[in-house]
């Protein structure tokens, strides 16, 4: 039997139609519900060769605590209500405490009354990393000085080693002293030291640090120092800036634009 061209096209068209199927019965459907955490694709993480922060002190007002509130809420930082036990990741200090070498008896009232935000300087040559006996504090390749709380034995050598007072000890169990626990970030436990982590857990999700986003005045600029086109590089090129106690040789990476 010979098929005409017309017949052949008819059959071919009808066969093609049968390929369009509707999933009436999900026979092949293996699983409808995703296991939590499955097929995890991390949002594009923010990466850098050298993270750093610039703080524009002219934009930072003395009465504003937005960055502190945001950071401490996200990271479950406890408030023990006692200055001796205070735990702080980012906080305010008077100018004389931030830059002790740059203040003198003739500084103006404006400078004497100034209060600046301070945090861990994520030093390029961190003394805390050097003194830590368990390597609980370590420096990542991207410059973040980070703590592995699992390894911390609470010896507080890092607190003695840090010239900026950026580290706090949990003298009590912090859980009852956290106003509202953020389930996305672990708390700490009694007997470990803690500090700012440059929001490494947010960078991994592609988010900027909480303090940077919380600042309405955009006084905090976060970026890659090794990238010549980054905002922070152009800012540091154009504006005069200071680093805290730079003469100590820790090579701090928080730049204060004054």
């Amino acid at each position: 039997m010979t098929t005409s061209r017309r017949e052949f096209l008819k059959i071919a068209g009808a066969s093609a139609l049968t390929l369009i199927t509707f999933p009436v019965f999900p026979v092949g459907a293996k699983e409808n519900v995703r296991i939590p955490g499955q097929d995890f694709t991390s949002a594009k993480p923010l990466t850098a060769r050298r993270w750093a922060m610039a703080i524009d002190t002219s934009k930072c007002s003395k009465d504003c605590t937005d960055c502190i509130v945001a950071c401490h809420a996200i990271h479950n930082v406890p408030d023990f209500g006692n200055p001796k036990d205070e735990v702080k990741w980012i906080w305010q200090e008077p100018f004389a405490a931030v830059f002790p070498d740059n203040q003198h008896a003739y500084s103006g009232q404006a400078i004497q009354k100034m209060r600046l935000p301070v945090l861990c300087n994520h030093c390029a040559n961190p003394s805390c990393v050097r003194v830590c006996p368990t390597q609980a504090t370590f420096k990542r390749p991207d410059g973040i000085v980070m703590m592995d709380y699992h390894r911390c034995i609470g010896c507080r050598l890092c607190m003695a080693g840090c010239p900026y007072g950026a580290r706090s000890m949990n003298f009590h169990d912090p859980r009852p002293f956290i106003a509202k626990i953020n389930p996305d970030f672990p708390t700490r436990t009694k007997g470990v030291v803690e500090k700012c982590n440059f929001c490494q857990e947010r960078l991994a999700k592609g988010l900027l640090p909480a303090c940077v986003l919380a600042c309405k005045e955009k006084a905090l600029v976060f970026g890659d120092l090794e990238d010549p086109l980054s905002d922070i590089r152009s800012l540091l090129k154009e504006r005069f800036n200071l680093r805290r106690k730079a003469h100590l040789g820790t090579r701090p990476q928080i730049y204060y634009i004054v």
């Binding site: 293996k30 699983e31 409808n32 519900v33 296991i35 939590p36 955490g37 499955q38 097929d39 995890f40 694709t41 991390s42 370590f138 990542r140 980070m146 592995d148 709380y149 699992h150 626990i181 389930p183 996305d184 672990p186 708390t187 700490r188 436990t189 490494q200 991994a204």
Partner: protein
């Protein structure tokens, strides 16, 4: 003279042997029943294919080793994605991955930990989402 010596040694030996073997026969008499772990959670009930990150035998024997490896890889190397033996991918997170399914920590984790006398310190810092909600 010889008999006189054994009068003291024998009771001492008996007390020693009984004392040393005490844990063995005590546990033989008072055997604690093996705990029954509950998988009755809303998320697990919805799963058609009730399979953990790895197979059951591996998870019950080696979950602590896996979590230790996750911990070190995430914190120290920044590697947050786990590829299971069958190729499925998971976020390495106790709170967000494990406890999302096993939201009944008291009927699942704790029962076996108590039975085995294990006291994991994970929960000193890592948050149990159910407890925060309370």
């Amino acid at each position: 003279m010889k008999q006189h010596k054994w009068r003291f040694i024998l009771p001492g030996l008996v007390i020693f042997v009984v004392g040393v073997t005490f844990p063995l026969w005590y546990s033989a008499v008072n055997s604690t029943p093996v705990p029954v772990l509950s998988l009755d959670t809303p998320v697990i009930n919805q799963l058609q294919n009730k399979e953990c990150v790895e197979d059951k035998a591996f998870m019950s024997a080696d979950h602590m080793k896996m979590l230790h490896a996750w911990r070190d890889e995430v914190v120290r190397e920044g590697k947050r994605e786990y590829t299971a033996k069958d190729g499925r991918k998971f976020e390495k997170s106790l709170t967000r991955t494990c406890l999302s399914c096993h939201s009944n920590k008291e009927q699942f984790c704790d029962r076996c930990h108590n039975y085995a006398g294990a006291k994991p310190t994970c929960y000193d810092c890592h948050i149990i989402p159910e407890e925060v909600k309370k």
